[in-house]
């Protein structure tokens, strides 16, 4: 299990919505206590061109509390890493179902392992971004490009802490940057 969170937090969040649900139940923290990384807009053309990979969500006029609730709701839909892709047989339709977890693998020995190592990071990033986009954009959020190192600090591997970071960035001043459309 990659990332900054212990596995149980991720499992709790993804199977039961527990950590985001409890974060919601506790209410958002005081935004004044949340320290953002350097979000100053950049005119670096490489950063702007790369915005479809590294971006943050923003909504003009949204409050920190509303943005926090939106992110918490959408974090429920983040993926279970290693969940089997096979169509499951059963869903109880009363609660989130359990997931069969299988190690991600490629069949080509050491070469397969090397390829997997290279592609896993981008696959995981895009897997999460795709879900967050489908959940956040209908709510009126748009995307702005940020430098990769800032993006990493902001996303913080989708930790509970990152809810407040992303909500603060989303409710901040409108950046003087082109919206990401790709």
């Amino acid at each position: 299990m990659r990332g900054t969170l212990p596995g149980w937090i991720i499992l709790a969040a993804l199977f039961c919505g527990a950590s985001t649900a409890s974060a919601q139940a506790d209410g958002p923290p005081d935004p004044a206590t949340i320290e953002l990384p350097d979000m100053a807009p950049t005119r670096d053309q490489h950063v702007i061109a790369d915005g479809w990979r590294h971006f943050y969500f923003h909504k003009a006029g949204v409050s920190f509390a509303e943005a926090y609730a939106d992110f918490a709701d959408c974090y429920r839909f983040l993926p279970v890493q290693g969940a089997s892709p096979a169509l499951p047989a059963f869903a109880p339709w009363s609660e989130s179902a359990g997931a069969r977890v299988v190690p991600r693998s490629l069949p080509w020995g050491l070469m397969g392992a090397a390829i997997l190592d290279i592609v896993s990071g981008p696959i995981d990033r895009r897997d999460r971004q795709s879900r967050m986009r489908r959940c956040m954009e209908p709510r009126g959020y748009v995307r702005y490009p940020i430098r990769e190192e800032v993006w990493r600090q902001l996303i913080d591997n989708y930790s509970v802490r990152s809810l407040a970071l992303q909500a603060k960035a989303a409710s901040g001043p409108v950046p003087n940057l082109p919206v990401v459309t790709r």
Partner: protein, 297 residues
């Protein structure tokens, strides 16, 4: 590059498609040449898949909502499995707490929650209520439109998600952010209308999917994100001769709110259906009743 991505995706997602022993398939496609006999203890769904040039083979995944007896069996099986697993889960939790203490992390991480039945990752396969309709088994094959007749267990259904049409169906996309449901009665053929599905990275050529497509490359995890919707049954739609003496009723769709499905490879929402399904921001709207639909779970 696109070809490499597809090869990689197949290797990653199709290769480890390991299936345990499962209950038999509930939904039976009646394909061209099969005899059609309407069983009084079964219901039937009739629909078309519209697939214009350039659109890949995509098939719908339906969920039958389990009845009370099935849920009792599921909960009993989960309870028994949890009882067996609990000592090991407690040992794992204790070991995690020890590791966290030894690592002396700053800030200190909270202790893992005690194992509970509700949080227990229980995989259940004794009931087969989640199934795709194999798009390669139509009753009437055509292009751009093929017709499907499927024998199902009577009950309440949800258009749960979509898969690429392939030998081993996958829960490629769940319609977790909004979809529709419907009921089917024994001995009756219910016309669901026309299923529309496409990859939505680029603007779709299917009119009903235009507003929910063109999301660009960051919508793709490794394969392109799929979108879908239903075109409600059209009055006077052609019915195969074999069904002329059978009661065919148009479906009554209802809007279905969000649900969490951790096993899907991607998430989306069904594109709006006039008179049935709409959205207000992130909220699912039941158009007929003019109100938001609550989340399921």
């Amino acid at each position: 590059m696109r070809l490499f991505a597809h090869a990689l995706a197949l290797a990653l997602f199709a290769f480890p498609t390991l299936l345990g022993a499962r209950a038999p398939r509930e939904m039976i496609e009646i394909k061209a040449g099969d005899p059609i006999s309407i069983r009084p203890d079964r219901a039937y769904i009739l629909f078309r898949i519209f697939r214009p040039e350039g659109v890949p083979a995509i098939e719908p995944i339906f969920l039958r909502i389990p009845d009370a007896a099935e849920m009792q069996r599921y909960l009993a099986a989960r309870h028994a499995a949890f009882q067996r697993a609990e000592p090991g889960l407690i040992r794992q939790r204790d070991a995690q707490i020890r590791r966290d203490a030894e690592a002396a992390r700053t800030p200190r991480v909270a202790d893992p929650p005690l194992p509970s039945e509700e949080r227990f990752n229980f995989v259940y396969e004794d009931v087969h209520n989640l199934q795709s309709v194999d798009q390669s088994r139509p009753l009437v094959r055509g292009r751009p439109e093929s017709l499907y007749l499927v024998e199902v267990v009577p009950g309440d259904y949800v258009l749960y998600g979509v898969s690429f049409g392939q030998a081993n169906a996958q829960l490629y996309v769940c319609m977790c952010l909004g979809t529709v449901g419907f009921s089917v009665q024994p001995g009756v053929v219910t016309d669901l209308g026309t299923f529309l599905g496409d990859v939505v990275e680029e603007q779709s050529s299917i009119p009903e999917l235009r507003s929910e497509s063109g999301f660009g490359p960051s919508s793709r995890a490794i394969l392109g994100l799929l979108g879908a919707t239903m075109r409600v049954p059209q009055p006077g739609a052609a019915i195969p001769g074999d069904l002329q003496n059978v009661s065919v009723r148009p479906v009554q769709y209802r809007a279905v709110g969000k649900f969490v499905e951790p096993r899907a490879l991607a998430i989306n929402r069904l594109a709006p259906i006039p008179g049935v399904l709409a959205y207000d921001g992130g909220r699912v709207i039941d158009v007929a009743r003019g109100r938001a639909v609550p989340d399921n779970y």
